[in-house]
C-alpha cells in the first residue's frame, strides 16, 4: 500500500463555519433509499448505541453487534465523573471556542482542529438530547442542571449524575437503541463478536462474526461498516478497562488495510487503587474529582517510606514537616489539579525515588485530612459554634466529605478493606484510556471507503492527552450528531448499489481465513494459559511503553514482544472446541491481536522523538524534568500500516490556524 494519501477531507472555510456549511451542502440520501440501505454497527457503547439508534431513526436498516450478552454492558458504563458541554449555564465565560481551545491544548496540540471544533459545537446538543431521554443529571435546588469542574480547565462545564454519569448516559442510549430494536429498524445481535472485515472492490461491505454461544461463524453484509469498539488499554493487561475490552475489531480492520493512528498515545490516570498482588485482574479508578479536595504526598525520608511499606508506621504517624506534597511543591499554580499526564508522571518520579508507600513500593497518599478540617471548621462557623473541639470539627468535616465523595470512599473501603476517612488513601497511576485509534478523516471514515470509526476506537479528538469528562462527550457526539450526517457522504453514492449478498466470494474467502485462524489457535495445545501470555505482554508494555519511555527500552520491548508472540503460537493452551461456547478461545483471539498491536505501539513511541501528553520520552525533557515537545518535526499524525517484519508509517501533517502552539506549563 505504498503511497497512501491521507486526506482529512476537512471542509474549506472559516473554522467556525465549517460544520454548518458542511451540513448545509452535504449529499443527502432520500428516505426511500434509506429504507433499502443497510448499515452494520459494531459495538454498543456510547458511540455505537447512539449511532445505531440515530441511524435507525433516520430510516436506515441497521444491524448492531456486541460481544456482550446485552448492549447495556459496554464499558462506557463505568465512566464516573461527567460529560463536558459548552453550555455556559454557569455564566463563567465558557463558549464553544473555549472548549475547543482547552481540548486542543490539553491534547498537547496533536489533534485535528476542525474535528475538535465540531466536537465542541455539538456538545451542547448532547446534553439536551440526554435530558429529553430521561437521564437524571444532577440538579440545583432551583431545578436547573448542575455543573462541576474538572482538571485542566478554568470553567465549570461538566454535567454529571453522581459518580455514575457514564452509566446513565449509556442507559439513555441503550433505551433509544431498544426503541429502534422494537420497531425493527435495528436488528440486534448480542453475543456476536466481529472477527474480520470483508471488503468488496476495496469498500467495506461486511463482517465475519462468531456466535459466542454456538461458536459458529456468520457472514453479515451491508453497504457500510461502522466500528465503535472502544479502546485498547487492555494491551497493558492491568488497566481500568473491563476484562472484555479489546482491540480485535479495529485490529482486524488494520490487517485489511485500515491504518492505526498514534497508537502510543495512552492515558495513564493518576488516581487508581494500587496493585496489591500478582493475582490481580484489573485496576479500579478513583474519580479525578477527588483531587479537588485530596492532597497528594509521600514521606520526605526513605526511612519513613520503608517503615510504612513494612507496616511499622501509618500515614498519620508522619509529621507534617516530614511530608512532601510534591504536586503543590512542583506546580504551585495548579497544585493537586494538574492534568492527568503530569500528575501520573510525578507519582512515578516519587515512587522511583524510593518514597512509595504500598508494600509493592508503588503508591502515594491522597490525603483528605486537611479537607476534613477545613470543611469541619466551615460547618462549625455556619452553625455559630464558638470553640468547637477538634473531635467536633473532624466529625462535621467527615460528614461534608462523605456528602461529596461518599460512594467513592465506600468503593475504596470495599476493595482495600481500609477506611479512607481515618487513613489517607493510597493511589497509583494506571492505564485508563487510549487516545490513539483507527485513522479517520473529518467524516469519521477510515482510509478504507465505507469503514467508519467512532468514539474511543478512532484517534481524532484528544491528541496526545484527553481531558477529564471528554470521552463521554466524544462518544455521544460521534454517535448522535456526527455520523448520521457524515455517513451520507459515502452512502449517497451507494443508492444504486443493490443489497450486498453474503454469497459473494469475498465473504467465503474471509470466513475461511477466520476459520483457519481459529483452528490453528486451538490446535496448538501447548502448556501455557492465554491469561499467562496476556499478563507477560502487559508487563512488557508497562515496563517499556508505559508512563515513561526511552529508545533503548522501546527497542528491547519490541523484541521481547516478537519473541513472546512466537512463543504464544507454539505453546498456548486453549481448552475445548471452536464450535462451542468457549471463553478461553475468545480471550486467545484478543490476546493474539494485542501481541501485534503492542509491537506497533513500540514502533510509534520510538518514532516520536519528543515528549507530548501521555507520551513521555526520557530523552526529551526540560531541565526541570518536564515534557518537551518538538513541533518542528512531529506535528503530524502517525498512521501505521501493519507489516509483519516492519510496520509502515504514513503521516498526516497537522495544521494549526486558529490556535498558537505553546508549551504547556502548570507551574
Amino acid at each position: 500500500m505504498a503511497g497512501i494519501e491521507l486526506k482529512s477531507n476537512v471542509p474549506a472555510g472559516e473554522l467556525k463555519q465549517k460544520w454548518s456549511d458542511f451540513k448545509g451542502t452535504m449529499n443527502l440520501v432520500a428516505p426511500n433509499n434509506k429504507r433499502r440501505i443497510e448499515v452494520i454497527v459494531v459495538g454498543t457503547g456510547l458511540a455505537g448505541a447512539s449511532a445505531a439508534a440515530t441511524l435507525g431513526e433516520l430510516g436506515y436498516q441497521v444491524k448492531a453487534f456486541t460481544f456482550h450478552d446485552s448492549p447495556r454492558r459496554a464499558h462506557s458504563i463505568a465512566a464516573q465523573g461527567g460529560i463536558n458541554a459548552a453550555k455556559n449555564y454557569q455564566n463563567d465565560g465558557d463558549s464553544t471556542y473555549r472548549l475547543f481551545y482547552d481540548t486542543i491544548k490539553g491534547g498537547d496540540y496533536r489533534s485535528r482542529e476542525a474535528n475538535v471544533y465540531r466536537l465542541a459545537e455539538v456538545s451542547a446538543d448532547i446534553i439536551d438530547q440526554c435530558v429529553a431521554q430521561g437521564v437524571p443529571f444532577a440538579r440545583e435546588y432551583g431545578g436547573l442542571l448542575a455543573n462541576r469542574s474538572f482538571g485542566g480547565v478554568q470553567v465549570s462545564r461538566t454535567f454529571y449524575a453522581r459518580g455514575q454519569t457514564g452509566q446513565q448516559l449509556l442507559i439513555g442510549a441503550y433505551q433509544a437503541l431498544s426503541r429502534q430494536i422494537s420497531t425493527g429498524q435495528v436488528s440486534m445481535y448480542n453475543r456476536h463478536e466481529m472477527l474480520d472485515l470483508v471488503k468488496i472492490d476495496g469498500k467495506a461491505r461486511g463482517i465475519i462474526t462468531r456466535n459466542l454461544l454456538t461458536g459458529k461463524l456468520e457472514k453479515h453484509a451491508a453497504h457500510c461498516v461502522v466500528l465503535a469498539t472502544g479502546g485498547y488499554g487492555n494491551v497493558f493487561y492491568l488497566s481500568t478497562n473491563a476484562m472484555g475490552s479489546n482491540v480485535s475489531a479495529a485490529w482486524r480492520s488494520v490487517k485489511r488495510g485500515a491504518l492505526m493512528a498514534n497508537p502510543c498515545f495512552t492515558q495513564i490516570h493518576p488516581t487508581c487503587i494500587p496493585v496489591s498482588g500478582d493475582y490481580q485482574s484489573k485496576l479500579t479508578l478513583m474519580s479525578e474529582s477527588l483531587r479537588n479536595d485530596g492532597r497528594v504526598w509521600v514521606p520526605i525520608s526513605q526511612e519513613d517510606a520503608a517503615a510504612i511499606r513494612e507496616g511499622r508506621k501509618k500515614g498519620n504517624d508522619i509529621a507534617e514537616d516530614d511530608r512532601d506534597y510534591y504536586l503543590e511543591r512542583r506546580y504551585p499554580a495548579f497544585g493537586n489539579l494538574v492534568p492527568r499526564d503530569v500528575a501520573s508522571r510525578a507519582a512515578k518520579v516519587a515512587c522511583d525515588g524510593g518514597n512509595g508507600v504500598a508494600p509493592t513500593g508503588l503508591a502515594v497518599f491522597l490525603d483528605f485530612a486537611s479537607a476534613i478540617e477545613r470543611y469541619g471548621k466551615a460547618a462549625a462557623h455556619s452553625k455559630n459554634m464558638t470553640n468547637p473541639s477538634a473531635a467536633e470539627i473532624t466529625a462535621m468535616g467527615k460528614e461534608v466529605v462523605e456528602g461529596k465523595y461518599g460512594n467513592l470512599f465506600e468503593m475504596y473501603e470495599k476493595i482495600t478493606g481500609e477506611n479512607p476517612y481515618e487513613n489517607p488513601m493510597k493511589i497509583y497511576p494506571a492505564v485508563h484510556y487510549t487516545m490513539g485509534g483507527l485513522w479517520v478523516d473529518y467524516n469519521l471514515q477510515t482510509n478504507v471507503p465505507g469503514l467508519f470509526a467512532l468514539g474511543e476506537a478512532n484517534f481524532s479528538d484528544h491528541g496526545a492527552n484527553r481531558l477529564g469528562a471528554s470521552a463521554l462527550m466524544q462518544g455521544l457526539a460521534d454517535g448522535y450528531f456526527v455520523i448520521p450526517y457524515t455517513i451520507g457522504q459515502f452512502l449517497s453514492h451507494e443508492i444504486r448499489t443493490p443489497n450486498i449478498s453474503t454469497d459473494a466470494p469475498e465473504f467465503a474467502e474471509v470466513e475461511k481465513n477466520v476459520q483457519d485462524r481459529l483452528d490453528q489457535l486451538i490446535a496448538i495445545k501447548g502448556n501455557q494459559s492465554v491469561e499467562s501470555f496476556h499478563r507477560r505482554l502487559g508487563k512488557i508494555m508497562w515496563e517499556y511503553c508505559g508512563m515513561s519511555r526511552n529508545a533503548d527500552g522501546l527497542k528491547k520491548g519490541r523484541q521481547m514482544i516478537r519473541e513472546l508472540r512466537e512463543e504464544f503460537y507454539k505453546d498456548v493452551f486453549i481448552p475445548g472446541e471452536v464450535a462451542e461456547f468457549n471463553p478461553e478461545l475468545e480471550k486467545a483471539t484478543k490476546v493474539a491481536d494485542f501481541l501485534e498491536l503492542g509491537e506497533v505501539m513500540m514502533c510509534d513511541a520510538l518514532d516520536r522523538n519528543e515528549s507530548c501528553g501521555g507520551h513521555f520520552r526520557e530523552e526529551y525533557k526540560s531541565e526541570e524534568g518536564e515534557a518537551q515537545r518538538n513541533d518542528k518535526d512531529y506535528t503530524y499524525v502517525s498512521a501505521w500500516e501493519w507489516n509483519e517484519t516492519e510496520p509502515i508509517l504514513h503521516k498526516e501533517e497537522l495544521e494549526f490556524k486558529n490556535v498558537e502552539l505553546k508549551t504547556r506549563s502548570y507551574k
Partner: protein, 248 residues
C-alpha cells in the same frame, strides 16, 4: 486460605448439571472473581475445562457478573456485586457453594452462565422515552426538583444484573421492571408514556415467563444497588391505572 468450592457444572443448556467440589488456595486480598480466576488457571494447567462464569467491568457497574454464593445472589455483603466481594469476608477452611441465577426466564447456558436477554426485551417493550435525536428542547427548559431528580436516579441506578430475579422465590422481575418504570415515570420527560409503558412492560415480563410478585422483599435485600420495592408499588399503581383508568 484454603477453601472448598462446590460449583454448579453444566455442559450446556439441554444437559443435566450437578455440583462439583474443588479445592482452592486463595488470599484474603483477592476479589471473589480473582479467586475463581485462580481456580480456572489451575484447571487449565491440568488441561481440564475451566468453569464458565460471566464478568466484565469488575467494578460493580456493568451488571455482568452473577453468582449465587451460599444461596445468596452476589454473596453475603449488602449492596455489593460479586466482583466487589472480597475474600476477606470468608474464613480459612470455608466451604462455599456457587450456583447460577435460577429462574425459568434465565435459562442456564453453561456452568454459571445464564441467558438474561429477557431483560432486554422488557426494555424494548417500552422502557424508553420516545424522542428522536435532534428533537430535544434545551436541557434547562423543564426545571426538575432536585429531590425528584435524585429519586429518579435511585431507580435508574439499576445495573440489570438480575439479582432480584435470582433472589425472588417466584422468579419475578418486578423490581427490575419497576425500577425502569419509576426512573422514567418520576421525570416529566417520561410522564407522557407512563401508564402505557407500565402495561406493556409488565405484559412482556409475563410473556417471558417471569413469576408474580408476592412482596417477599428478597429482591430489595439482594439488589447490589439497593433499589427499593417502593418502585414496585409505584408500578402497581400505574399498572392499575392503565387498566382501570384507560378509556381505550
Amino acid at each position: 486460605m484454603k477453601l472448598t468450592l462446590k460449583i454448579w457444572r453444566q455442559k450446556g443448556a439441554d444437559k443435566k448439571g450437578q455440583l462439583e467440589s474443588y479445592n482452592v488456595e486463595a488470599s484474603e486480598h483477592m476479589s471473589f472473581l480473582e479467586m475463581m480466576d485462580v481456580l480456572n488457571e489451575e484447571l487449565i494447567s491440568k488441561k481440564e475445562e475451566p468453569v464458565a462464569f460471566e464478568h466484565d467491568c469488575r467494578e460493580g457497574i456493568c451488571g455482568t457478573c452473577n453468582l449465587v454464593i451460599n444461596g445468596r445472589p452476589h454473596g453475603p455483603q449488602q449492596g455489593t456485586t460479586t466482583c466487589q466481594l472480597h475474600m476477606r469476608h470468608f474464613k480459612d477452611g470455608d466451604t462455599i457453594t456457587v450456583e447460577p441465577w435460577r429462574a425459568k426466564a434465565f435459562p442456564v447456558i453453561k456452568d454459571l452462565v445464564v441467558d438474561r436477554s429477557s431483560f432486554d426485551r422488557i426494555i424494548q417493550a417500552g422502557g424508553y422515552v420516545s424522542v428522536n435525536t435532534g428533537q430535544a428542547p434545551d436541557g434547562n427548559a423543564i426545571p426538575i426538583e432536585k429531590d425528584t431528580a435524585l429519586s429518579a436516579f435511585d431507580a435508574a441506578a439499576c445495573i440489570g444484573c438480575g439479582a432480584c430475579v435470582a433472589a425472588c422465590p417466584n422468579g419475578s422481575a418486578m423490581l427490575f421492571t419497576s425500577a425502569k418504570v419509576a426512573h422514567l415515570g418520576k421525570l416529566p420527560q417520561g410522564q407522557v408514556e407512563h401508564a402505557a409503558r407500565s402495561k406493556s412492560m409488565v405484559d412482556q415480563m409475563d410473556t417471558e415467563g417471569f413469576g408474580n410478585c408476592s412482596n417477599t422483599g428478597a429482591c430489595e435485600v439482594e439488589c447490589p444497588k439497593e433499589i427499593s420495592i417502593n418502585n414496585i408499588a409505584m408500578l402497581n399503581r400505574s399498572y392499575l391505572s392503565s387498566i382501570f383508568g384507560s378509556n381505550k
